[in-house]
Amino acid sequence: MKLLARFFSIENRYLPPILITTILLAGQLSFGLLESFSRTALAIAAALLTELVLSRLITGKYANLASAYITGISVGILVRAPDFWPYALCSAIAITSKYVVRWKGRHLWNPSNLAIVAMLLLAPDYVSTLSVQWGNTLWPMLIVWVLGALIVWRVKRLHITAVYVISFVALSLLRSAITGHAFLAEVAPITGPMYQLFIFFMITDPKTTVRTRWGQCLVAFLVAAVEMALRLAQNVHAPYYALAIVGPLANAVEIWWASRSHVAPAPRVVAVA
């Protein structure tokens, strides 16, 4: 029992990697979620290799690879491309960004979010993002939601996920009123697996979210709000862009505010990409 409690504890930095690996394997073995195992393996390998090289180069030490693994696997699942090179490139951009796009020692962007947005903007003719579903029944989706919610609850980030989901659903109602489209059509995207990765792994990333609980809730709401605006503009990749816009702005404001108050925020240890 103690072992189980320790496994599901906030100190266990391997909990998120285990969850995302479970999602990957379940999705691939049951529904053929991936473009191919080899492409995902390439994305993971590129992320791990880049992390090893850059951490040694910049810090003189080899970094723990849990975070890079999640980045690689996220890229491997979320990126869709016929060619192999976008997978390696996206992972490399994500990991490199951690060592470059920083302000006062902190990340501004979620690495995989930044890399995917960069690929969508710079290589739209070569890359798209995950669009498939978890089969055609509710069960696989519910299992992932329950498991994911359990994990983010244990790592004390469930409030972020909850605020985002509630905001998305509420704003779907608003969008429905504005567009005249069915509410179910507006709420449909959140039932897909892309959103499960988005709400459990991207928007909850400890290293790229603001520190205070209320701040995190506010940012989650703002991501959903900006996403709504982008959706009204018919942007297919609205959630990625919304996080890429709101996330760094929120972090920048907090870092600036902290520097005024001379309070050095302590980074958390849980590894999420």
């Binding site: 869709r80 089969g135 055609n136 449909a188």
Partner: protein, 607 residues
């Protein structure tokens, strides 16, 4: 302590600068890749513009006007509950199938229309480069009457072995069988044949699955056959998943009992699926002498049914690797593109830059696998034939007679307003759960927007080294209609494959092919005796200059299409052909030693 930290910082500065530069360089990679890619294309374009004929060995000229072909397809209106997405739902029905219906030695072709009350056409080849629509005279025009549904496609096969090709017409509605009365007239024999009252079908192929010498018929349902698209009880008729839908139409396998009667045996023979079939092709993939059946499904994985020596079928999609990753299968065509005697299977899917990149599939047998243990791998990317837009019909054929099969793919889904796209709303609902996606009422209205419209076609030339080069624009294929069905045939008996393209809500196009001088060819028109008279399933392998190429007489391939039954082999510069081996559906083997080149051989199955 501070001194030490400063020292470390100083040491790390060059490293940090390096990483900063690396980051910028990584961001520039797509730009650089595109630059190299476009330079390569530009070089190809400039070379091709000088002379497509000299560069690629052929040129296609759209010649429907000169050929006297004036046909335009129209879509049905369906139930008013679907008005808001009518163009998306009613986006199929333009089809073409080639036949020599009157045995005059010239290939004719039948094209379908889909508006309620619209007329189909049978273009009779007059032999002078012109065609004449004779459908009204022979009784094959007025087949889309209100209440009977509308045409989706047609396939030709001599089901009663009387020497004349009969017509099976599949519809979203009542399927029809027409008997060919000596090439003069067609008689409707649907009731006698025992066909079902209503099938929302988008594919059918003739095959002799049990080798009894009588053609059987496979029909693949798309929408559930219990749905009448003109009288919907409710709007829950859309696929219940974008990738895993299993609420489509059932499949039918009609066993030919003789005497014009058929028995539906799909369940008994092991074919039970409610995936959304859009294309099927039957071919002997394992050298058993019996045709296997490949089905490309929209909204899901493809299915491959191995034929258990005519006693039944079993599904091996996952086992063989073709039924794993779900896509939007639109076409199925087989071809021996590597000239190694084995068939690859081409399946078109849908892709849109930056939104949905499924890529087309080309399933090639893995090295060292064959027979029941055959495994396929998708080589479309490696061979350069993956990116085809919202692809529909595709056919293999040697367009320049260089001895290698080329590939012609038509595409484009709904072309309405060029400036406004439906993609966002489409992707919004397509990713939703079954309860959302399956109800048409949840689909946002199209409102005149395009969905993957105005796309450039693909003509891929086989380089013989495992790569294809896309040359459509360079060889004269410049139309951007919503292409659906394509069929290839030698309409003038000159050893050259022309192309007929049926477009949704658009004109029928006739691309006349001009091939550069110097390449040789040979064609075989087979007629079964113990085997079915159409010789569908006959397997022919030509051997020349160390090469060998296999082809099979098909009872339907591509998307709602059928090529000419005659087999066409380009031979390049070869001045002789060593031998040709024919394996008839009956199992008989026949060898032709060193047949003369540049001729059409009419071969009857030996007694």
């Amino acid at each position: 302590m501070e001194l030490k930290q400063n020292h470390v910082r100083m040491r790390m500065r060059p490293a940090q600068a390096f990483v900063d530069v690396l980051f910028v360089a990584l961001l520039c990679v797509p730009w650089a890749y595109r630059h190299v890619d476009s330079r390569r294309s530009a070089l190809a374009a400039s070379a091709g513009a000088a002379s497509a004929l000299a560069s690629y060995g052929f040129h296609l000229q759209e010649s429907s006007e000169a050929a006297g072909i004036h046909f335009s397809h129209s879509s049905p209106h369906l139930d008013s509950k679907l008005d808001h997405i009518r163009e998306q739902v009613a986006s199929m029905g333009a089809a073409v199938s080639v036949v020599d219906f009157d045995h005059d030695g010239l290939a004719d072709f039948y094209v379908t229309n889909s508006g309620e009350g619209s007329k189909n056409a049978l273009y009779h080849n007059l032999g002078n480069g012109k065609f004449e629509d004779v459908a009204p005279q022979v009784g094959l025009a007025d087949v889309n009457l209100p209440g009977t549904g509308v045409s989706m496609g047609a396939v030709w096969g001599d089901y009663d072995n009387d020497g004349y090709e009969d017509l099976f017409l599949y519809k979203w509605g009542k399927p029809e069988l027409y008997h060919n009365d000596g090439g003069k007239h067609f008689t409707r024999v649907t009731e006698q044949a025992g066909l079902p009252a209503w099938v929302n079908a988008n594919t059918a192929v003739w095959l002799d699955y049990d080798g009894d010498g009588k053609l059987d018929l496979f029909v693949g349902g798309y929408y559930d056959e219990r749905i009448d698209l003109w009288h919907l009880k409710n709007t829950k008729m859309m696929p219940n998943s974008f990738e895993y839908a299993v609420n489509g139409g059932r499949k039918y396998l009609f066993h030919n009992l003789g005497g014009g009667r058929f028995e539906e045996v799909s369940g008994k023979m092991g074919i039970a699926s409610r995936r959304w079939a859009l294309a099927a092709v039957a071919a002997d993939l394992r050298g058993t002498g019996y045709p296997d059946l490949f089905i490309a499904n929209d909204y899901g994985v493809s299915e491959l049914y191995f034929n258990d020596h005519g006693r039944g079928f079993h599904e091996v999609g996952r086992q063989t690797g073709v039924g794993y990753a779900p896509k939007s299968g639109m076409t199925a065509a087989v071809g021996d593109v590597l000239n190694d005697g084995s068939f690859g299977i081409y399946v078109s899917n849908i892709s849109e830059d930056g939104i949905l990149v499924q890529g087309n599939n080309f399933w090639v047998p893995k090295t060292g696998t064959s027979g029941d243990k055959i495994q396929y791998e998708n080589m479309a990317n490696a061979m350069g034939i993956e990116s085809g837009g919202w692809s529909f019909g595709a056919q293999f054929g040697d367009l320049n007679n260089d001895g290698l099969l080329d590939l012609y793919v038509v595409n484009g889904n709904v072309s309405l307003d060029r400036e406004r796209s439906y993609w966002y709303d489409y992707s919004k609902v397509a990713g939703g759960n079954e309860s959302i996606i399956s109800d048409a009422a949840n689909w946002p209205p199209l409102n005149g927007r395009s969905l993957a419209g105005y796309q450039q076609k693909r003509v891929w030339v086989n380089d013989g080294a495992g790569r294809f080069r896309e040359v459509a624009q360079l060889v004269g294929v410049t139309d951007v209609y919503d292409g659906r069905s394509i069929a290839l045939a030698d309409f003038e008996n000159r050893g050259v494959l022309d192309a007929v393209v049926a477009n949704q809500n658009g004109p029928l196009l006739f691309y006349r092919n001009t091939v550069a001088e110097g390449n040789n060819w040979i064609e075989f028109e087979l007629q079964g005796r113990e085997s079915n008279r159409s010789a569908i399933g006959a397997h022919v392998t030509a051997f020349w200059k160390g090469r060998r190429q296999a082809q099979e007489v098909s009872g339907g391939s591509g998307f709602c299409a059928q090529n000419q039954r005659r087999l066409h082999f380009g031979l390049g510069k070869a001045d002789a052909i060593e031998r040709v081996e024919i394996r008839w559906p009956s199992g008989k083997l026949q060898t032709l030693a060193a047949p003369a080149l540049n001729r059409i051989y009419k071969i009857e199955e030996p007694a």
